[in-house]
Amino acid sequence: MLRVIPTNPEGQKPTVRKKVLGKATRDAYGETLLQLGKENPNIVALDADLSKSTKSNLFAKAFPDRFFNFGICEANMVSAAAGLASSGKIPFTSSFASFLMCKGFDQIRMGIANPGLNVKLVGSHGGISLGEDGASQQSVEDFALALALPRIAVVQPADEVSTQALTRQIAAYHGPVYMRTGRPKAPILYTPQDKITLGKANILKEGTDVTIFACGLMVAEALEAADILGLKGDKIGVIDMHTIRPIDENAIFTAARNSKAFVVAEEHLVHGGLGAAIAQVVSTFYPVPIEFVGLKDTYAESGTPPELFEKYGLNAAAIVQAVENVLNRKD
């Protein structure tokens, strides 16, 4: 079915922007944690034998007395973080996202979520973009697990600048937080002057045809998809939803009114994550058709990140397709 493609009203020549890679979000996290350690003596770091990968090793080197390596004992680490927090410390607790959330889940539930303690859980190597190590290391259900627990803020920064800002803000925020970082270098989206606020969505592109919500590496893919569609004259909005909880309801309601169709893209199973959270908000107030871009009821496999993103439908091309689908469903 053909759609009527509107012309570009501003008369500008649309282009597709090029991705410029910056640091991996895990690197930006590690560097910011080190800075925070200098500023606040109550910050401590915990890891489970993955500090070289999670980048908590930078903190460990500078502050050996305030760093605790628990070995490959995630449950013990998470409960100890609860004990540290209840005695006034701010424990940044790192491991791979999959191990932290899956192996530490009951300990997070009882020790941290139940009393609402000030523990920062930071899962690195989130999503499938860690690549070749395969499904056992890839975390595709970590948002769902964190969101299933009351009180825990859930955050995924998209680039180095937003990682720096959000790491600082979660340290200052009093309460439990789960933050996911990623392994590969992330495309730069923000300048240090940009304002990034925990709990507030970043509107990167205004659009009246469809709004794409995304987090993590999918934000850059969403921008590319919007540019590709812009060549045809579609006005596609893009929102970086770096904070999944507390979710920015205003941003969702405004986008629903303005564009009346959504695509949500995340490096996660399509159930239980950002898409589900947005659908829950919008369906109570202003239902609009939504297409979900993410892993569809499956684990992934070994491969390079671009190969995996293509096979599992997590790139700009897949987002373009999802936009086409949702435009066809739009009233």
């Binding site: 609860a82 005695s87 139940n114």
Partner: protein
């Protein structure tokens, strides 16, 4: 003089057993067996061993107590009420809607409850976090964690057992309420632990073995734990599940069951004449 102190504590434990029995009877649910096996040690801790202030339950210098075997909550509530953390009257609200006296302890619901417990195996790890924080802050408070012998089936306990000696957490004291019973039967049948003391010793712990109902042995063990440097202590306390009520002793039916009216009357008589 010393004898007097022991008698006072034994009398208090007997009174607390009555409180526990009444609470569970009133609630018509709860865990009498494991509450009775642990109460003597908890009585000693709160009355003689621990530094704590019911008027200032969050004092940074307080000693911490974590009831890792959270199902013994009635024992914890009875002792906290006795020491004035909340009105004695509130014990009647155990397990009732709106009460801070939840079926298992919840931190932040009730003053004096240091950790939310009830999912077994987590208490020693939480205590490790508290002990690490104390060391960092140069404080000399001690952290006491009471665990059950069934509970130490949990793998996390052994993660914690590996960690604590590695960090020389000598301000951490674990009390193992070794009553020999778990929910589905005897520990010996379900998941044998022997050689128990050797296991902990091999992990690097200072191990003290006592009878967990003899006040002199209990006080002596805490004193020895207090003077041990460089390693954490575990007090393996041989106890009797349901201790104090003849028909509950070693009777696994009373692991998690409230007495009926007739049983309550009988039990009360026994405890009052103990």
């Amino acid at each position: 003089m010393l004898l007097n102190q022991e008698v006072i504590l034994e009398n208090l434990a007997a009174k607390l057993r009555i409180d526990i029995l009444k609470m569970i009877f009133e609630a018509q649910s709860g865990h009498p067996g494991g509450s009775f096996s642990a109460i003597d040690m908890m009585t000693a801790l709160y009355s003689k061993v621990m530094k704590h202030d019911p008027q200032n339950p969050d004092s940074p210098d307080r000693d911490r107590f974590i009831l890792s075997k959270g199902h013994a909550a009635p024992a914890l509530y009875a002792i906290l009420a006795h020491h004035g953390y909340f009105p004695q009257e509130n014990l009647k609200t155990l397990r009732k809607m709106g009460s801070p006296l939840q079926g298992h302890p919840e931190k932040n619901k009730l003053p004096g409850v240091e950790a939310s417990t009830g999912s077994l195996g987590q208490g020693i790890s939480i205590g490790i976090g508290m002990a690490l924080a104390g060391k960092l802050d140069g404080k000399n408070y001690r952290t006491y964690v009471l665990v059950g012998d069934g509970e130490i089936n949990e793998g996390q306990v052994w993660e914690a057992a590996l960690f604590a000696p590695n960090h020389q957490l000598d301000h951490l004291v674990v009390i193992l309420d070794h009553n020999g019973q778990q929910l589905d039967g005897s520990v010996q049948e379900i998941m044998p632990l022997d050689p128990l003391a050797e296991k902990w010793r091999a992990f690097g712990w200072n191990v003290i073995e006592i009878n967990g109902h003899r006040m002199n042995e209990i006080l002596d063990a805490f004193e020895k734990a207090g003077s041990t440097r460089g390693k954490p202590t575990i007090i393996i306390a041989k106890t009797i599940k349901g201790k104090g009520v003849s028909f509950m002793e070693n009777n696994n039916e009373f692991h998690g069951m409230a007495p009926n009216k007739e049983q309550f009357t009988l039990a009360l008589q026994e405890l009052e004449h103990a």
